[in-house]
């Protein structure tokens, strides 16, 4: 079973490497959205320093939603998803493996580039750790919850917009806590509480979301 899950992860990583343009597009989208905010609200450094965590988090949220189109859609279109649904490994575990690979390819790059973008907003350097950690814990949660939405909207017309509508309300708590962590750190309160809550949310999401996604996949594939 471990061999099968490792096979799924390697396969997805290999496919992403061979079709790297859609992965880079997500990263580029993140960078562009972050850069648009100062253009919209003005270059006042005091203001930018305050909004930096929120802006980075909203941009990460939007980029995650954009990326969700790749989790199941391609496999559904060429028939490989059905085969995975009738494999020797429970579908929930297969989904968890796919979401992990998806995060490695779309979420992790966002986390890695975020400190550079945060510096553009003159975010205090000693607080960068909290910001990066909040994104590192938060982006997998976004992927896990988003996968449920992607599974529900599989193959539907206008799936992209519908997916955003479904998934945004569920993302709100992650956004509030995640951006709140860096905010709290910036105001001197320390972001440990929020980071711990994010960690707990990640564990709960990892335990339950793949099974919800698996149920949704079976419903969608009928």
């Amino acid at each position: 079973m471990i061999a099968a899950l490792r096979c799924v992860i390697v396969r997805d990583l290999r496919l992403a490497a061979r079709r790297s343009s859609d992965v880079l597009t997500v990263l580029l989208f993140f960078v562009i959205v972050v850069s648009l905010f100062p253009l919209g609200v003005g270059p006042d450094p005091k203001l930018l320093r305050v909004v930096a965590p929120g802006v980075l988090w909203v941009a990460a949220l939007l980029a995650s939603m954009l990326a969700l189109g790749r989790v199941f859609a391609q496999d559904h279109a060429d028939g490989t998803l059905e085969q995975m649904m009738m494999g020797a490994t429970p579908l929930g575990l297969v989904v968890a493996a796919k979401v992990l690979a998806h995060w490695l390819v779309t979420g992790l790059p966002l986390v890695l580039i975020s400190p550079i973008l945060a510096l553009q907003f003159d975010f205090p350097q000693d607080l960068l750790g909290v910001l990066i950690l909040s994104l590192a814990l938060g982006t997998p949660i976004l992927g896990l919850i988003g996968a449920i939405g992607a599974a529900l909207t599989l193959g539907l017309r206008g799936a992209g917009a519908l997916l955003s509508l479904l998934v945004l309300p569920l993302y709100v708590p992650v956004l509030i806590i995640g951006a709140g962590a860096a905010d709290a750190a910036a105001s001197g309160l320390g972001g440990q509480a929020q980071l711990l809550i994010l960690g707990a949310m990640l564990i709960v999401a990892a335990a339950f979301a793949p099974w919800a996604s698996a149920a949704a996949l079976r419903i969608s594939v009928e």
Binding site: L162, L165, L170, V172, P173, G180, I219, S220
Partner: protein, 246 residues
């Protein structure tokens, strides 16, 4: 008297019952609403701080309560439908959603109307209004998902998964928004802090809650009848009904 509940678990037998319930509860709703509004608008005393404008809470608070209750009811029916594979449960969940969305919208609208005279702005990002806004998105998401899926069975089951995921998240959303609100507002007062309740005010709100419940049952029954006719249009009883009425 023992009631055979399963007798009503098929659309064919439930259809006439739903009609009778709609009529009965509709009449009750009109009556209780009249009583409630009379209590709220004429009997309850003027508030010391907010004057007459606070009276909108007789609609705002019951509507907000209903919006949340109805989401749970919708998730309940959706869950039953998913677990036991019953067609009627899925139809009930779909019938509840628009009424729930309506009350959410009313809560937001009246909240905004309350805010303007009380605090000077049309919108405040306080915990309840923000949670209601997200709840509205949850309802819209459910309705949009069902609208996008042609196959009724897939629509019911996909909606059920979404509703169940949503109902688990509603408390999480509410508490995180509340926390966010207190963190950012500091010492300021919440929009939805109602004036200290005189007995008549409480009575008025309770009557309005009942009125909204009765309305909801009536509206859901009527909508469920439409859904049943549409889904079962190939069946005998639906054909007979259509011919009888037309």
């Amino acid at each position: 008297m023992s009631v055979n509940w399963f007798k009503y678990s098929s659309p064919q037998t439930f259809f006439p019952l739903a009609g009778r319930l709609a009529l009965g509860f509709g009449a009750l709703a009109v009556f209780t609403c009249a009583v409630g509004l009379y209590l709220g608008f004429f009997v309850a005393p003027t508030d010391a701080q907010q004057g007459e404008s606070y009276r909108i809470i007789f609609i705002h608070v019951p509507a907000a309560w209903m919006s949340m209750f109805l989401y749970v009811v919708m998730a309940f029916w959706a869950g039953i439908g998913l677990a036991f594979n019953t067609r009627l449960s899925g139809m009930m969940a779909s019938a509840v959603a628009p009424t729930g969305a309506l009350f959410t919208f009313i809560a937001l609208w009246t909240g905004s109307l309350w805010g303007k005279p009380a605090w000077g702005t049309w919108w405040v990002w306080d915990a309840r209004l923000t949670s209601e806004l997200i709840l509205l998105f949850l309802y819209f998401g459910f309705m949009a998902l069902q609208a996008a899926i042609d196959d009724p069975r897939r629509a019911d089951r996909a909606g059920a998964v979404l509703a169940l995921v949503g109902v688990v998240n509603v408390p999480i959303i509410y508490f995180s928004v509340k926390w966010w609100n207190t963190l950012h507002q500091g010492a300021s007062v919440s929009l939805t802090k109602a004036p200290t309740m005189a007995a008549t005010m409480l009575a008025g709100m309770l009557v309005m809650i009942f009125a909204f419940w009765f309305y909801s049952i009536a509206a859901v029954m009527l909508r469920a009848r439409c859904i049943m006719l549409e889904r079962e249009r190939a069946s005998e009883w639906a054909g007979q009904y259509a011919r009888g009425v037309a």
